[in-house]
Symmetry: C2
Subunit: 259 residues, 2 copies
Amino acid sequence: MTSPEVSAPAPDASWTFEPIAVVRSCFKEKFGIPRQPGLAPHAMGTLKFKKSTGYSQALKSLEGFSHLWVIFVFHEHGAKNWKPTIRPPRLGGAKRVGVFASRTPHRPNPIGISVVKILDIRPNAKGGAEIDVEGVDLLDGTPVLDIKPYVAYCDSVPEAKSSWATDPLVDRVELKYSALALKKIKTVAVKIPNFAKLVDELMSLDPRPAFQRKDPPGGHYGFRIMDWDVKFTAQKGYLAIEDLLPFEKLNAVKKQNSK
Amino acid sequence: MTSPEVSAPAPDASWTFEPIAVVRSCFKEKFGIPRQPGLAPHAMGTLKFKKSTGYSQALKSLEGFSHLWVIFVFHEHGAKNWKPTIRPPRLGGAKRVGVFASRTPHRPNPIGISVVKILDIRPNAKGGAEIDVEGVDLLDGTPVLDIKPYVAYCDSVPEAKSSWATDPLVDRVELKYSALALKKIKTVAVKIPNFAKLVDELMSLDPRPAFQRKDPPGGHYGFRIMDWDVKFTAQKGYLAIEDLLPFEKLNAVKKQNSK
């Protein structure tokens, strides 16, 4: 074995990576994407790999694992504009914490890591290997730099102290559906299994940014899921889902002042 | 809010990142580095950040977290030479699995993720911020692309099925120390606290590559820890640590045929 020091690049050299895959997901816009993976189990996605015999072979034996790490690029967040501190939504948008003490996409190198559940692996799909995954928090079109199997003995630290980043599952928002919204959701669900569950999961996380959550009751909002706009109003103690309309641009998680 | 599609780069664009920090660790060579983080708790390391007020500020509030993700580059593994399948040491070097079903450094994009325990954070250290961490599996000089707080509710999946990647803690190798080795280790330990524990942790993982573990008993080896060479022989059912010498190049985890 030769000495490894010989060909090592300088530690401050820059590194260039080409995506191995791209994410297809139900999230067409940044607004309202769950803040972490796993919060909306019915948020399904597909990793579509570049066509390569190598990539297909590289998936061999992955079927023995239940979960997967996706290492990806926050491709719509310019790293150039990062600021040292941010105001995490979990703290109501008031307290500032450092970006290295948060999972914000706005970081010096906009790289993300997400655990997702493996649903189906198709190494030999036409056009390139595909993996269906569940519980994604990834924007449609996200470039994937790497995937790794989740290895519980080294990745799982259930006793880890996570400061303010506590489980948001405990404070889901109550939802009330109008008869009209329920009817339309049911119609969509004929073609898209679990659509109703997905709407429920995403809406119960309250897709509004922190500053809008302080709005007085009565405000009207629109939130995009796939190609639909969920029209809802904020009421005292709950969100009222009023209607489901084909998505119109500029309406996503936006207060409809005209109403 | 403007439509996010406007400025999004092509999904197959390449991405260039500059390291934010470099790792200083006890591992000066690739050989014998624990296969995953946490296996040798006394393997201490320091993340040395580039001097930047922004980076120092970006560490604000990290002290509330116990563990950290380090996103790094396997800088001594040329991605150009990756092959679709590898033979993981955990399977005795016999069975082949895909690189995407393994945590091998030899992957299309040589990016690694490791959980480490936070020991000390010094945002205002001279020369740039520093974080001392415990349980590293990182080579000295490793470029760090990002750090993120470990968030238990989304990162910890204790029930994940990890196929063949089972906990190696169950089959540590038995060790026997010569009086000479013990005496020398004690001498070093005066200057380097926990050096004896570190030697014990690393040697009990058996630093030899899979193919050497099948050698007949009696073979002589050398394994580098910091600037020392641990001289040991493989016996039936245990490793015998014979001596500790200043490190000589080309000796690391190498069978000493001349002996």
